[in-house]
Symmetry: C2
Subunit: 568 residues, 2 copies
């Protein structure tokens, strides 16, 4: 491709409304343009990358035995009424009416359509298992689309749906998909983690998210430095190996005045937060007689709302007691609560329970205890895992310690169970002639989002640094002042022909621009290799090859260029 | 692919609601399934064909220098308001509102979006010409979707839009696209014609439709048997080579009683329709003083409404006078009108004007003339081409005679001119620094419709006969009673491996079905070649290869199979 016959569309300025780096670079590199909030034109450079991602996804899905189909973007409402999602789904589901005033939706996912399809087409256990997928435009009417294509309204997703007679069979396809997803992200060349996830409202028990690691990620991922274990911090189990040492101090009440936060108390008493516990009062479930229960974590730890809300004593969703309720229940204000002589049931995080001689509120205003110890000073309490893991925690898998990194969710696989198949009566006749409702799995990849995530992980101050597998072009020819030098032009043209003939995707920057402009544009676009054709090297029948990632420059003979580029 | 791990979804019964053969066969061959009126799931077999068509289209567009982009399915209404189509477009444009009550449309085409894009991105004449295309899901809310995917509501289109500084440049890209379209249909393997078309309401002057010839087509195409000339019959120029012979009969009034149609008059007088003329009264334009004008064509010819309505004397759109108006204007009823002593201006088709001694109405009830002759018996009249061409007419190109065949429109190319670029102020700075509005072309191909059109042209009573280039599989292995014969199974499996390894798309029918069922399914699906593995031929280390189109059967050695299939 010649830049003169291409829509390069690079921009110098950082667009003012682009918050994240991938959004900025996609605009600057001429990859996308906004049409409306959350809707984008994919320009040639962007589409080339997108198509490569889609190709890798398709190829690995096919290899894993999934079969490609294509379902409509517009879906009839009656299917959504059948599954119950017509009512459940919020305003992100764009509901539309056709000219005959019939209800439709713009599909955010296709569980209903595919379940209806399988229900009609598959009648016998012999046709199972079946894993159907598509790569297709979806629409989700986000209230505040942002971060460019990262959280757009119209986007491209690979969604797969598998159907099974048994949970064992579902699990086996689930493992195949897990492996296929790993293959996909490895082939693309991204640092990623499959992460144990909360399956949330979509139903089903087992679920993994696939995260591309990047500082700008919205999720915190905890993973072992010595194994494959990775989980969203919200779900990662906190392991406490310490056991509570013997008490060495007496329980002593101290006036802490207006100090109410852990930080203020620690400063006042000159101690580390790890030597304190904090006590939080939340609404109790029906299982306990009191209105509130106390949640206690070490002063340097954070409460994990999800873990806490799963405790039988705690009302779900988690609701903190307000200031008045706290005073009514304890006689003290929020900053001075503690486990000693508490009037509400106590749930103590395992790490807090391993403390000795700790500082806590005294359930009396302006007062804390020092030298508190569980066995000696506190009544009954329950130990549970209710904190968020921190870096350095032992990994729950038993191997290594946890690291915590930011991640961008680009894939999600679920064991759905029978949520949709039951509601839509999707079943088959088994070998014994019995009608059985199918078990389903669903497997999504954000194809457009991968493009942005790849940029978040691979860029520098000059622009994008594409992994080879998804680069828009493999190599760019940059001729220095071609319009003044016949020799430069001749060599550049002949290299362009030779590389094209070798089926190498080459961009030939034949614009009448200064070398500086060309270098800046090509670094911005992130083409992995540049061939710089200049007078000086031509004296020796040579050109320079520059590696975008390593910045390494090599001068090689003109007639070695094609083989060298091929070998990369 | 093994059928046991595939969604074959063939059906024996002809679906009751499928009127056309392609719709019937696509349902029976398991290619598509209806989700709602005009919206279909593409099952694996259908999608394989669709993807091949799309691949050929993409490849030829790239070769012709067009650049692929991707624009959103959902488009903001403000762009349509800017172009004026928000008002112009009827209820086929599905208008929707997002959660913030903002107006959008589901895109039936993308002139607005692409014009806005080019308006923003292209500023200099140096970036022109530019030809941008996409292959993408479109939505058109047809009032009565029918014929399966042939006239669906959601469909896939390749739409391209080119931008130019001059009409010469536009014409040059238009010719490139014309050639690319020919390449596309030739590569797919379809009998087709590029047809001179009416550009209709989309504006612009030059336009060609591409039609796949098939008996079930909705359009009549006239084309020369000795040249490339082809036109929609509505537009094909009628050439009249005859000149009016001398009068040999006297003008004579005859009582024709209740005979009022050409057929009735011809039977009564024992003459051929070609020896009569018929006179039709229509509303006149402001250019003539009378309310009505008469259109006269030979008795065996049909009036061409489009041609007639383009005549300066005729009101456009064409409107026939009703019975009362005819009596008021002529004194006679509709069945007895004629040019002799007519009281309204006469427009006579050239072929009718070449008649002598003809029969016509006498402008008096129950009365006709015989022996009428233009020069002697009729006053002033104008000669024009207002009839539809018929088979055998001389071709307007000067070479050969016209044939007329039915066609299915699968592509349409237009020289749009500045309709959109002017309304949306899309221009660039020229070499002299002047701002100039761009000239546009647009080029559409119905990707999904091609699949149906290919079937309409290529089928027999057993099913589809795919052209090799778009067949879902190149070859199918049909093992005879594999589940009883170890030898058959072994050979079938090894052929499957060998063909797969040779990158040949092979379907292996490994179902436990009777040979008859397998043959019927594979003929229905239309796979070009079958390899029948049976005990009898295995005795000689041979298998049978069957050609779906020619029905030819060849017995060849097992170890020649891969090379033989490759050679096809």
């Amino acid at each position: 491709m010649r830049t003169s016959q291409y829509l390069l569309a690079t921009q110098k300025e950082v667009p003012s409304d682009a918050e994240v780096i991938s959004h900025q670079l996609m605009l600057r590199a001429g990859m996308v343009r906004k049409v409306a909030a959350g809707m984008y034109n994919w320009l040639p450079t962007g589409l080339r990358v997108l198509n490569k991602v889609a190709h890798i996804v398709r190829d690995e899905m096919n290899k894993a035995g999934a079969i490609e189909i294509n379902m409509p973007v517009v879906q009839p409402a009656d299917l959504w009424q059948e599954s119950g999602r017509w009512e459940e789904y919020g305003p992100e589901l764009l509901r539309i009416k056709d000219r005959h005033d019939r209800d439709f939706v713009l599909g955010p996912t296709h569980e209903e359509v595919v379940t209806a399809l399988v229900s009609n087409e598959v009648n016998s256990y012999k046709q199972l298992p079946l894993n159907l997928y598509q790569i297709q435009t979806k629409f989700r009417d986000e209230v505040r689309p942002r971060f460019g294509i990262m959280r757009g309204r119209e986007f491209i997703m690979k969604d797969a749906y598998s159907f099974h007679l048994s949970n064992e069979c579902l699990d086996s396809t689930y493992q195949l998909m897990h492996k296929a997803y790993c293959n996909i992200f490895e082939r693309i060349g991204l640092e990623y983690r499959p992460v144990i996830a909360d399956s949330g409202s979509i139903g089903g028990a087992v679920s993994h998210e696939f995260h591309v690691l990047a500082e700008s990620g919205e999720d915190d991922i905890a993973f072992s430095n010595q194994s494959d274990y990775a989980a969203n911090v919200e779900l990662a189990e906190a392991i406490t190996l310490e056991t509570s040492p013997e008490a060495t101090q007496d329980l002593q009440s101290v006036d802490t005045g207006s100090a109410s936060t852990i930080q203020e108390v620690c400063e006042l008493l000159s101690i580390e937060p790890a030597k304190t516990v904090k006590t939080l009062l939340v609404k109790a479930s029906d299982e306990v007689a009191t209105d509130l229960v106390a949640l206690i974590v070490r002063g340097d730890h954070s409460l994990n709302d999800i873990k806490a809300s799963k405790h039988a004593w705690v009302a779900s969703p988690l609701e903190f007691a307000n200031a008045d309720e706290v005073v009514t229940a304890t006689g003290a204000s929020i900053g001075c609560l503690g486990p000693v002589q508490a009037r509400v049931p106590l749930i103590v995080d395992a790490s807090a329970a391993a403390c000795a001689d700790f500082v806590c509120g005294a359930n009396q205003n302006n007062t804390h205890y020092t030298g508190a110890n569980w066995q000696r000073d506190v009544g009954e309490f329950e130990i549970a895992d209710i904190r968020e893991v921190v870096a350095g925690d032992p990994s729950p898998c038993g191997k290594g310690n946890l690291e915590i990194r930011k991640g961008i969710e680009v894939g999600h696989i679920f064991q759905l169970g029978d949520k949709y198949s039951k509601a839509m009566n999707c079943g088959v006749l088994t070998e014994t002639g019995k009608h059985e409702v199918l078990q389903m799995g669903c497997y999504g990849i954000g194809v457009t989002r991968i493009v942005a995530a790849a940029i978040e992980q691979n860029h520098d101050k000059f622009g994008i640094i594409w992994p080879d597998a998804i680069a828009p072009f493999k190599v760019v020819i940059i001729p220095m002042n071609m319009h003044k030098s016949h020799r430069v032009k001749e060599v550049a043209e002949s290299l362009y022909s030779a590389l094209s003939d070798a089926n190498i995707e080459v961009l030939f920057d034949d614009r009448k621009e200064r070398p500086g402009v060309m270098f800046a544009d090509m670094e911005l676009i992130g083409v992995p290799y540049s061939i710089v054709v200049g007078e000086r090297n031509l004296d020796n029948q040579q050109v320079e090859i520059k590696n975008r990632r390593s910045n390494e420059k090599t001068v090689i003979a003109i007639d070695e260029v094609v083989d060298t580029i091929k070998s990369y």
